[in-house]
Symmetry: C2
Subunit: 145 residues, 2 copies
DNA sequence: CGGAATTAAGAGTATTTTATCTTAAATTAG
DNA sequence: CTAATTTAAGATAAAATACTCTTAATTCCG
């Protein structure tokens, strides 16, 4: 059950690293993250660029540069991150992949799947990056393979 | 939220077609399904082959051949189909894609994600192909794009 | 038996996703 | 101002997924 692409997996791991590091106050170097999390530097750069362009992070170039949260991680929901990295239609996809499927023209799985997606969205909606990061810090959990 | 590969999407659509057609009693031609469902014939053949090799279907060659259910669709669960087509570790994957993640070495999202996966598995476990097909038939829902 | 219909299987191609490489732009420190 | 450090952006490459083509094996019907 793989619901996230590598882009989101890496993006989330980086965000959690930032939260864990210093509560997301200061700029964190992408190079540092790529090394600590064992993610390709250039690939991670692009992912974080997406988050920067979506106004979730701000970036700064030059020595001591990096990325930082634009708003406190308490206010950033998992769903927000996922919608940015996976696309706005993330919670609208048909289980059977039928393009026309929706309330007006439902596939056989539509209602069933809609309910599951709904409850998942709800979970993602009230889970903040801060909470997630907290758990990681307090339990010394690992973000690295 | 794309949880299934094309393989599973196509496989499920074909199975639902078979249920809808005649309750899964007789052999249904793969060619017919590929045309009615607008799925590549050879690709679909391979997908149904996987289901045949997994003993969910039986196949018959020659004129009037095709595939049929080996056990009644009432007894086939959605989870069973998905495990065959996506792999046995389908419900065991880490949200962040970390290979070592598990109960012994949980990632920050492990517990959270484990619960969600659990309830999804439960849903998939007591949803039979027959139920799914029933809905499709009774409401004249479409399996085609 | 012989030809047509059908699934099985393997090789080959295309598309998408993931990852890398190169160069440019911004910032800092000396 | 210059050199070093860092993100931005675009081009390219590798890997995975999705799809196609060809040939073989099985079964039916005349």
């Amino acid at each position: 059950m793989k619901v996230l692409s590598k882009v989101s997996e890496y993006g989330l791991r980086a965000l959690l690293y930032m939260v864990a590091k210093r509560g997301g106050q200061e700029y964190v170097s992408i190079r540092e993250m790529s090394e600590r999390l064992d993610i390709s530097f250039h690939f991670l750069t692009k992912i974080l660029q997406m988050l920067t362009q979506a106004n979730l992070l701000i970036s700064y170039r030059g020595p001591n540069g990096g990325v930082a949260f634009k708003k406190p991680p308490e206010e950033i929901r998992l769903s927000e991150v996922v919608l940015i990295l996976e696309g706005d239609d993330y919670f609208d996809k048909c289980l059977l992949g039928l393009p026309g499927c929706g309330d007006r023209q439902p596939c056989p799985m539509h209602q069933f799947w809609k309910e599951i997606k709904g409850s998942l969205k709800k979970e993602f909606d009230h889970t903040s990056l801060a909470e997630m990061g907290q758990i990681a810090v307090s339990r010394h959990l690992r973000l690295v393979p």
